[in-house]
Amino acid sequence: MTGIQVWFSDFCDLFEKCFIREERYKLLLSGIGVTIKVSLLAVIIGILIGMLIAMCNLSKRKLPRAIGGIYTDIIRGTPSVTQLMIIYFVIFATVNLDKWIIAAIAFGVNSGAYVSEIIRGGILSVDHGQTEAGRSLGLNAFQTMTRIVIPQAVKNIFPALCNEFIVLIKETAIVGYVGLMDIQKAGDFIKSATFEAFMPLVGTAVIYYVLIKILTLSLRQVEKHLRKSDAR
């Protein structure tokens, strides 16, 4: 056998040991499910909190601005693992909710702070003349915001939001800290069970990479659709 054949056969054995034997791939598959579940719910919570905090920060009144400022300040100033553990072991300690939902809330709370800044920037990036045009037609402030400013802001902030979601998905790799079996934790588990480091860890990386690649490509299609009105 040539060197390459030997290497290939070793690789296949290793692959079989780490992923096929004892149906270990099932761990990873359910891990993918957990990661996707947590990320999706977190993204939704993050956008909702982000919009709320952005509105606070854009408010003319002092109290909402202070609340928004403190929120962003605390979230940005502490590590997300710490936030996750505080939310899981302290705030929701006595609440009977599924683990993954609590984790999603934690990531949503974290992401909201960053999303709020993205949204705020996006709204400010829309020319004030747009608001004036809307109001001069007799639309009220809310109608002007939802029908004129936000649709344009969404287009402007879309790339930054996508980036935030990708960061969020990768961030969820710390849910193992509160005992959830996501992709990272599954890989880690296989590593301990097989005493192999290379295959489980690289496998984990590949799964994350593919997930994010799929997401990136689909979001790019959405963005193309959003940019329809830019055609000249």
Partner: protein
């Protein structure tokens, strides 16, 4: 139709409007001229409450509009506004730009609004652009759409804030033509502009504003051929 009494506007310590009294009647075409920074745009913007008057009273159809509790959205629905920078909504097609407000404010059904939109686009000679987006239009075309959009609300008064100042010279004419037609149809109009030829031709009255005050008011003949105020004379000597 519009009565302005003792209108004052200050931005911080800067007095922009310093006591304006004006009465604009139905069907009048009032052209406001004056040096830049004189307050003429601010005057126009006070009329539809885009700027809040510091002091004074503005009546539209005998309703005091700059009082607390007035529904500003209702007041603005009576007044169409055309901006220097067009301010079309870039994310909407031309037709959607025109129909958005009447449909959203339940003035018309979608079908009625589209029909009205087609009429208006015909009127400004842009029927073929209904499905285009603003980015695909020239400046002159954008401004004509902006006029159509304002007219879609069937306003009683049209306000124009330097509608041709952001246009390339060869496009000024097409916009002024639309405005002339509108004036002929009997629309009450208040126009801030630097187009003196247009003012002379179309205005039923010319206001010269400087330093936040109406310095002179009269027919175009009176103001252009026989300015009484020294500042008007000085201004006209520079621009004519």
């Amino acid at each position: 139709m519009i009565k302005v009494k003792n209108l004052h506007k200050k931005f911080g310590d800067l007095t922009v409007l310093d006591g304006i009294d004006e009465h604009i009647t139905q069907g009048e075409v009032v052209v406001v001229i004056g040096p830049s920074g004189s307050g003429k745009s601010t005057f126009l913007r006070c009329l539809n409450l885009l700027e809040k008057a510091t002091d004074g009273e503005i009546y539209v159809d005998d309703q005091l509009i700059n009082a607390p509790k007035v529904n500003v959205n209702h007041v603005r629905q009576k007044m169409g506004m055309v901006f220097q920078q067009f301010n079309l909504f870039p994310h909407l097609t031309i037709m959607d730009n025109i129909t958005l407000a009447p449909v959203l404010l339940k003035k018309m059904t979608k079908a009625e609004a589209v029909k009205r939109g087609q009429e208006l686009l015909e009127r400004v000679n842009l029927s073929e652009k209904a499905d285009a987006y603003p980015a695909q239009l020239s400046g002159g075309q954008k401004q004509r759409v902006a006029i159509a959009r304002a007219l879609a609300m069937n306003p009683e008064i049209m306000l124009f804030d330097e509608p041709t100042s952001a246009l390339d010279p060869e496009m000024v004419g097409e916009v002024l033509d639309v405005m002339k037609d509108l004036a002929k149809s009997g629309m009450t109009m208040v126009i801030v502009t630097h187009e003196m030829g247009f003012a002379r031709e179309v205005a039923s009255r010319v206001l010269f504003i400087d330093q936040g005050k109406v310095m002179e008011s009269g027919t175009p003949e009176e103001v252009f051929n026989n300015p009484k105020n020294e500042r008007t004379q000085l201004f006209l000597s520079k621009v004519l």
